[in-house]
Symmetry: C2
Subunit: 458 residues, 2 copies
């Protein structure tokens, strides 16, 4: 592999600015931009301004846009009509740092431990998105990137469900229009195994309330004569899943696109230890749908999981109550081409149909997300493969991820643009947990990926 | 029906002391003898002394016995060896009065509303047991009861599970030895339908903890690859009950004594409205084991009821957690001749057997009680039937009760004596609830029952 000339200048720029870039990231990580904490509203806003200033330094025309919630930072450097347009997406807000006692350093006092940057937001997503921004700077400051329209959108509400993002995209549709979205908010498959995530599972999250008697009854005086809502709930849930985890809701699998041969081959190539995974979960034994590997089950196949149960007496000891209601929160992870609305309807219809007499059901719709499957064939994906190969010294693998990234669906729907998910983090980066980390080498590699990617697109 | 001569004198005594007896009951009800409240320890003790004094006034040799917990009051009036011996049992402690805001009067300021005495403990059990004590007084003070050894045991820990009772019985075994135990701590079948409760359901109360992953996992990243303990719990519970509530645990029914023809006829005679019962529970539809009536299901047949469920995220909204454990408290009501220990073992074995791979089970034994079935043929039961017929002007019905009264089993085991359960209360007396009540007419009828009962036994 040879490094193209122009990117070589960008690489030299990166090399000579390593300390500055890391210092700037540390400044960014020092701002407690916890989007869910109203007390940190000021921090979130100052973080937005910091990001805007850094985009401007990198050579973009940057602005902070107010929204109904936290502001969006947007910057652009346009090459002209007819040129390819990319939209780099990331978020500057972070998860709450609690529990604080488990951090080895203050969550907002970034610290280098060996090659790991320890701080809240190190990997999710400040470190990753900032690597891309530094990569842009390196290209722009060395005279590159002139053939591509570069747009950058960094929002402040990702950790609270991005409520203002779609309204913002709709309002600024013309400004944001792009051919490809580039996102660095996923991870490598494993250390040294760069990955492009091409599949994301969707989600339907529901809650069912099973109601029986109008008040809690004494289980001695009434037991046997009325349907117990907790017993009924257990029966309803049990009927939703077959013995090996296959979902038993009729028509559930009708739209599931089967895994293709190349995908199953790709899965097999991934360095994965079933035993290591079992140890990581602590589960006594791995379990799942027959005919599929663990990796396929957790990312390429749909699921039915109870997320919460509550009914009757849950304190210490015993109380002979026949509860008046029982609740379950449950969610189904979806894969292409399942449709969240349809799956929600199928689940509700089935549960109502199998509910025993003597109870009524009510449903609460929590949220949903469509599954994503990005084609490997697009020019942006090809450019990303080449860029990652050069930056990591190894071809990226293609992988599916079990979770959902709703913005990917939003960009597709609102802008018609598919996303390229470049994973710079590692699977054990402690996202949403104490001692979140990001490998400093991957921080620099991320800059190189961006430089190479722009070069490829030109 | 004619009233025998000696009891007629007792009846006259009751008539002429109606006001005093009611005043004394009001004094008793004014003492907040809440056994579960350590702040009321002094009240519980002064209540014991009050009861002792009243037993002494009634003509018994009475004493307060300290125990490891709250004291037991014991009194006796012996007729001599070879004479029949009864042990009257009751309790002077009461349930906590909370929620206070729902009481129409202070819970310890007894008030007559029409013919109802409103106070905590009015029916459970101060009013009922005190009626029997007044009945004894009426007999003794009019020269009766000389052919029967009368023993009275009134404890102060019934509402907290009677932890000191069995140790006390064992210690004072010789003193307490009796042929029959008389208990007024149940209810009439309905207003004006006096009842002798001859069957009580037993109980096995267990808790199962289903464990999977060592910590809560993200349902997106891990869902489908590990057994979800909440899904597993639902499956386990669902498998314990057939579609109409019949318990599906193997061998569960092996020792169940079928309802006899006379019992089913007795059930049919009871004035019971299915519709009224459904309205009372608020259940959308009555439900239960096929081939049995609602009354039979709730008192004459065993059950499997979940009492509490908890797992994962139970707060408001949604959290995509794959929980590391799920818990259910569940209980089985038993009927003669099921054995609690055996049923507990069968349930645990079955659940372990059907538990899906990928989870482990742990059980907590909460408590158990043996089912009770008292013969209708004993002399005490016959005496009680005659006594109630005279006092109420109507033959009592024989009924089974769905709950458990553990002391009945204790007396049988420790003293070899069967209990006669004379119900003076009403099913809607608001036991353990605000505005507990006891019909003042039934208070006086209870005295008459005691007088007639002693007369019958002599």
């Amino acid at each position: 592999m040879t490094t193209p000339l122009r990117a070589r200048a960008a690489h030299a720029y990166i090399e000579s600015h390593r300390k500055e870039f890391l210092d700037e990231l540390f400044q960014l990580l020092s701002i407690p931009s916890v989007s869910s904490d109203s007390k940190e509203k000021g921090s979130v806003e100052s973080c937005a301004r910091f990001v805007r200033d850094r985009l401007a330094d990198a050579g973009l025309k940057a602005e902070v846009f107010p929204t109904g919630g936290h502001p969006v930072v947007y910057g652009e450097r346009l090459a002209g009509a007819g040129r390819p347009t990319i939209l780099v997406y990331g978020h500057y807000d972070v998860q709450p740092p609690e529990p604080l006692a488990l951090w080895r350093h203050g969550p907002f006092r970034p610290t280098l431990e060996g090659s790991d940057i320890i701080a809240r937001g190190a990997s999710d997503d400040k470190g990753q998105v900032y690597a891309l921004v530094c990569g842009l700077e390196a290209v722009f400051r060395t005279g590159g990137g002139k053939g591509v329209n570069v747009k950058v959108l960094i929002e402040g509400e990702e950790e609270v469900g991005s409520p203002s993002l779609v309204p913002f995209i709709r309002k600024e549709h013309a400004r944001l229009k792009a051919d490809h979205v580039v996102i660095a908010d996923t991870s490598q498959f494993a250390k040294g195994v760069p990955a492009i995530t091409y599949g994301l599972r969707g989600l339907v999250y529901l809650e069912v309330i099973v109601r029986g008697p109008k008040k809690d009854l004494h289980s001695g005086s009434y037991g046997g004569a009325v349907m117990n809502p907790a017993n009924a709930l257990a029966r309803i849930i049990a009927a939703c899943q077959g013995p090996f985890g296959k979902v038993a809701i009729p028509e559930f699998y009708d739209r599931v696109r089967p895994l293709e041969d190349w995908e199953r081959e790709e899965y097999l190539k991934l360095p994965f230890s079933e035993e290591g995974f079992r140890d990581e979960t602590g589960s006594p034994r791995l379990f799942g749908e027959e005919g599929y590997s663990t990796l396929e089950r957790k990312s390429g196949r749909p699921t039915f999981d109870v997320n919460g149960l509550v009914s009757g007496f849950t304190g210490e000891g015993a109380k002979t109550v026949l509860p008046s209601e029982a609740r379950a929160k449950f969610s189904m992870r979806l894969v292409a081409d399942q449709k969240p609305d349809e799956i929600a309807r199928l689940a509700k219809d089935y549960m109502r149909e199998i509910a025993p007499e003597g109870v009524t059901l009510e449903f609460i719709d929590h949220h949903g997300a469509e599954p994503v499957l990005v084609s490997r064939e697009g020019p942006a994906v090809k450019a990303a493969v080449a860029a990652m190969a050069r930056a990591f010294g190894r071809e990226p693998v293609f992988m599916r991820e079990g979770g959902s990234i709703p913005v990917v669906v939003d960009f597709k729907k609102e802008l018609g643009a598919e996303s390229v998910l470049i994973g710079l983090g590692l699977p054990d980066d402690n996202l949403h947990s104490p001692n979140e980390k990001f490998c400093v080498d991957d921080f620099y590699r991320g800059m190189a990926v961006m430089a190479e990617f722009l070069e490829e697109l030109e």
